[in-house]
């Protein structure tokens, strides 16, 4: 297990490093002079030159890369252009809102998806199975931002059941939660479908396995076979899928934050792009990427803890 953990951890470090390198190349390729862009058209050449030196743009490429790389690993993502505050600080302020949104989406998808998928697998071939199948496919298909806009239109604008805008009052948990319902539904709805399908498919596969036939041949009760013998195995691919899913939910969160005018990293990046605040863009992208890699690492470790076969392979 220790070997497995170390290997996964090492892989995560390598992937984050590569992602940093890719990001650096992208920044470097941006046409135009970042200093000129940052200072606007009215800046003088001297001002631009001093900013260039400050940003390290006068150095050779590899020095720039090395500086970017080492600073990024120590959490120094530079300062944003508008207020000159550290990017890391600005991003971290917004991160909890995004995390809350994703956690909400997770709750929707897991709480609905796993029971639905399990139910469909046990009732295989029935009309209930077909309905679950079609509904899962349908919610997967529809893009999350369309769900967000329509949810806003129906529940907030037309029916006025739930608040439309913002994250709610900082001190009022109830208010925060009611503000979270619609955006988190928009983020999580598609994943209800994904998880239901995944659980159903892997349940069906496991239920066909020889050892389930053996368990039946020993007369074990169906509930024990379904939940202790089959679901414990069928859940494994779902854990991996959830790791990937959180990355997709990060994407959906960007839209949800914009549509519902919520604070968060997505809104931050979007606004930064519109104001050409490049250090903030790259910093926020990097933070979310690291977050995504960490979550996948956790999912991998969880698989290792749940599946004795994986554990022993390392």
């Amino acid at each position: 297990m220790l070997g497995y953990t170390l290997k996964r951890l090492g892989l995560a470090v390598v992937i984050v490093s590569l992602a940093m390198a890719i990001l650096f190349v992208m920044i470097y390729l941006i046409p135009g002079d970042p200093a000129a862009v940052a200072l606007g058209p009215r800046a003088t050449e001297a001002m631009r030159e001093s900013l260039r030196v400050k940003m390290g743009l006068d150095q050779p490429v590899w020095v720039q890369f090395w500086n970017f790389f080492t600073r990024a690993w120590t959490g120094d993502l530079g300062n944003e252009v508008l207020s000159d505050r550290p990017v890391a600080q600005v991003v971290m302020e917004q991160l909890p809102h995004t995390l809350a949104l994703i956690a909400g989406g997770m709750v929707w998808s897991v709480a609905l998806g796993i029971p639905l998928g399990c139910w469909a697998a046990v009732k295989r071939g029935s009309w209930a199975d077909r309905v679950v199948g079609i509904v899962s496919v349908a919610v997967i298909a529809v893009p999350s931002f369309v769900v967000a806009i329509y949810a806003l239109l129906i529940f907030a604008v037309t029916l006025r059941w739930l608040p439309a805008i913002g994250a709610g009052d900082a001190g009022d948990l109830g208010d925060r939660l009611t503000h979270l319902i619609l955006p988190s539904l928009a983020v999580g709805l598609g994943w209800v479908g994904y998880i239901a399908r995944m659980v159903r498919a892997s349940m069906l596969e496991v239920l066909e396995a020889q050892h389930i036939r053996t368990a039946r041949a020993f007369g074990l009760p169906e509930t024990m076979i379904t939940y202790r013998y089959a679901l414990t195995i069928a859940i494994l691919p779902t854990v991996t899928l959830l790791g990937v899913g959180i990355g997709q939910m990060l994407s959906s969160a960007v839209f949800a934050e914009i549509v519902f005018a919520r604070p968060g990293v997505g809104k931050l990046v979007y606004d930064a792009i519109l104001t050409r605040n490049y250090p903030l863009v790259t910093g926020a992208v990097l933070v979310t990427t690291v977050l995504f890699v960490l979550i996948n690492l956790l999912a991998d470790l969880l698989i290792g803890a749940l599946d004795p076969r994986v554990r022993s392979r390392f």
Binding site: Q210, H211, R213, A215, A217, F218, G219, L220, I233, P308
Partner: protein, 320 residues
């Protein structure tokens, strides 16, 4: 006394191309404390027969006629709960593939404890019983083995664990579905000896399915020969293997390479293919491949009894 009596069993599967008659008019007995072998090549209906006895036929399969009488109860009329109550304590099974037969994410001890879920014993007592069974199938260090997972054992050991699980509840009937086919020949010997010893201790009957004639001859008391879903011949092993009365049995025995003592230029074969089970021939099921067929073979054949207890579904098997 007869533990299991099968009478006129018919099983069909609904398929796209029409009903597939997998078993037709299957009949044989498994007497108490005897080992009955079922032998036949692929497509003979061995697996369907086991699933029908266990009540685990696939969704598209159904029993269309006949009886499966186990300890006086007709299993074809038993409901799911009654069948579940029998499986495990009264009828248990060892399957062919030792790799897949155990749950990969549960420890061996947990699985053995689960099998005893009906028992009134406490957890420690159940584990002790499990360890005792592992001891009997010669798993080294049985207590430690309980906390290990299936992938930590070799194929031969997994099959022995499966046998321990099957015999733990001391069933009246053990169904062994090609338990040694996936094992190397030199491991097969030990596994078969183990089965025989345990059967002797527990006093159960065994229904032993194999395509390996030598193993059947070595282990079994009685043998049932199946072809294309029908029982073509049955009797004691000595009757069937020494004086086969059905041409299929005779050819099958000839084909076994172990029968040829010297090197031959031309090994015997059975030319032709299995009949289409969706569209069974009206007469003898083997007629199309039989080198001794006559006009009478086009009519349906009944079982004849050339010697007491020795039956063959062939017109040539009249008592002499």
């Amino acid at each position: 006394m007869t533990v299991l009596a099968i009478r006129g069993l018919n099983v069909s599967f609904a398929t796209e191309g029409g009903d597939l008659h997998a078993l037709r008019d299957v009949a044989f007995d498994v007497p108490a404390r005897r080992i009955v072998g079922i032998v036949g090549e692929s497509g003979c209906g061995k697996s369907t027969l086991i699933n029908a006895i266990l009540g685990l036929l696939a969704d598209n399969g159904r029993i269309t006629g006949g009886q499966i009488v186990f300890e006086g109860q007709d299993l074809t009329r038993a409901d799911a709960a009654q069948m579940r109550a029998l499986r495990g304590p009264r009828i248990s099974t060892v399957f062919q593939d030792p790799m897949g037969a155990l749950n990969p994410v549960l420890s061996v001890g947990r699985q053995m404890r689960n099998i005893q879920y009906r028992s009134s014993l406490g957890r420690a007592a159940r584990d002790a019983r499990s360890a005792e069974m592992l001891q009997k199938v010669r798993i080294p260090d049985p207590e430690a083995a309980l906390s290990r997972y299936p992938h930590e054992f070799s194929g031969g050991m997994k099959q022995r664990i499966a046998i321990a699980m099957a015999l733990m509840m001391e069933p009246a009937l053990l169904i062994a579905d090609e338990p040694t086919t996936a094992l190397d020949a030199t491991l097969e010997v030990a596994t078969i000896e183990l089965l025989r010893d345990l059967q002797d201790q527990i006093g159960c009957s065994v229904l032993f399915i194999s395509h390996h004639l030598g193993v059947i001859a070595e282990l079994c008391d009685d043998v049932v020969v199946m072809y294309a879903g029908e029982v073509v011949e049955r009797g004691t092993v000595r009757q069937v293997f020494r004086t086969p009365r059905h041409p299929y049995t005779a050819r099958l025995l000839e084909c076994d390479p172990a029968r040829q003592s010297g090197r031959t230029r031309h090994l015997p074969v059975i030319p032709g293919d299995l009949p289409d089970l969706r569209n069974r021939p009206g007469g003898c099921i083997f007629a199309a491949r039989c080198d001794r067929r006559g006009e009478a073979c086009a009519a349906p054949q009944t079982e004849r009894e050339p010697a007491p207890g020795h039956r063959a579904r062939c017109i040539l098997a009249e008592a002499t």
